[in-house]
Assembly symmetry: C2
Homo-oligomer: 347 residues x 2
Amino acid sequence: MRRPNDRGKVKMVDVAREAGVSVATVSRVINSTAPVSEDTTKRVWTAVRGLGYEINHVAKSLRQGATHTVAVLVGDLGNPFYSDFIKGIEMAAQRARLSVMVCTAPAEDDAAQRQVQMLLSKRVDGLIMWGWCLDSSCLDRLVSSGVHLLGVELQPHPPAGARTLSVDFRTGMQDVVSHLVSLGHRHIAYLWDRRDEPTSPESRFYCFREAMSEHGLTLKDEWIAVATGGQRPEIGQAATLDLLHRAPEVTALACHNDLLALGALQAAKLSGFPVPERLSVVGVDDIFTARFTEPPLTTLALPRVEAGRLALQWLLQEDAERLPAPQITPHLVVRHSTGRARIEANA
Amino acid sequence: MRRPNDRGKVKMVDVAREAGVSVATVSRVINSTAPVSEDTTKRVWTAVRGLGYEINHVAKSLRQGATHTVAVLVGDLGNPFYSDFIKGIEMAAQRARLSVMVCTAPAEDDAAQRQVQMLLSKRVDGLIMWGWCLDSSCLDRLVSSGVHLLGVELQPHPPAGARTLSVDFRTGMQDVVSHLVSLGHRHIAYLWDRRDEPTSPESRFYCFREAMSEHGLTLKDEWIAVATGGQRPEIGQAATLDLLHRAPEVTALACHNDLLALGALQAAKLSGFPVPERLSVVGVDDIFTARFTEPPLTTLALPRVEAGRLALQWLLQEDAERLPAPQITPHLVVRHSTGRARIEANA
DNA sequence: CTGAAAGCGCTAACAC
DNA sequence: GTGTTAGCGCTTTCAG
């Protein structure tokens, strides 16, 4: 695995010698960092191609103190949600001639500590993450280390010094609730992925609740299903099973995300609650799978590829402070897991 | 974005001064690369912690000629298939204290050329890919550059100098065909993702065909549906629609992968071919979505996380030549998209 | 067991 | 326009 000291690789001196110029000149033409005569330029490029020279970015990075590499930190690379986000980052990175490193730091694992240390050691220029996957001590360390930090949908509040990209859940959840209300639903439950944690006014849950009151509806405590233990359908299923048993008066269920909604769909099937005739289910994210469930899932779509692209651009943005912060705008995709509420439910 | 030259960062000299030793000694205790007296060791560690020292991997890499970084190259990061693979790689990498870079190189795009160049410039120690996403000129360049190369399911033949991890489709496709045959199917079609390209004896298609003949069945030419244009359900749907129209005698359809199978399922629905009563569908991969389709998809599962882990280990393996090459073993997951063949179909 | 010193390959002053 | 040269922060002989 260990490569012998680049031995054999042609380096800048070799090109310089071949072209009959100095290394400085070679550097200048390669990076077009200072004017060089046309003739010399040509000779250098010829030498570069002839020798098959490839610049050594490691040396360059050491010298410049910038690695042209950004890292993406997510909770679970296997979560289908993240692949699109990373894709968007990678696409934008490719255009900006940056490389992207991925790493996972499962919440409440001290591996996170090590991951962050590694990233810092590797001197990545920036770090992008979606949601919390770091405890505040890690985060503070990052901030104080001076890496450029960017978090999407950071909760409950982003640390000072980190840029954020927020998702407009205010509008999004209004759409969700309006949709449900227009179908006659009044008893709308929420499938949440945590128990009691504080939520920022930009969070999914907060905005949902807000949208409910704007429609004159209240979210009763017993209508909150709690799915803790990971973003997995099974968890959502268990919580929904419990909810349906406990509060059969509910006619619609809004889910914190699609992964949980998938479980909700199965729970409904298991409980003999046909969707959408007896229970409407709506998710958030619009993961790939959402189109293929039975019935296909109505969901608040988050443009994740676009978010990734935006995240990278916003991270790169020099004078972000004086610019309006960009937002990610979700939109409701109505499929077939939502329908008219049963008449008798309108108690 | 550009970080000023690490200014302010504490470096090895600082630690050395603080501990009253030389940088050489600091290096030795940090890397435990040579015996150091217990007392000195202790002093060094104290200084390290006290100053919050973090080693600069860039400098280390330059000096050592190894970056402790591997790259993963895939065709499309958005393809749900790859996330698990990358996850496996990342997990193993974390244990081996390696970092992983991701990049995409869409086939037949000259961006690939640039990507490869970038990777080479960044001096990654190894490169892992699944399937072809590079043309042979790129590949040759990689091989000759001396990067450690590892490809999973490389087709039609891996270039000399690259290690490979193969998937045991021979056994896998036998399972698929046996399953179908045991359900009474004789007219089994194949939904392929390419037209005419040569296939290695280890490929999905080749093994399928082989398994068919072992059961005394032949795959008629008109039973091959061709889904070219990308691994997307829509493509699979179109090809299947066409097949069903052209060869209604078919009672089962084996798909090159789940993404295409998803499309096949929809095509069947559109054509009024109930699955599995009128048409059995089987996929390959067992992507996340497969569990949630209606009916849930029977598929040949590829343990992708495991494959990722294995890929990294095998890439790291020093004396791979004298060791037996590891294989990935798929297994059939029978769900509900396959069922008994219609009697009248047994012509 | 420990220190001094020579680079790893490149860039960026600074001269000319 | 071009060349010289001093490092970037670390590892690693080579002496002691």
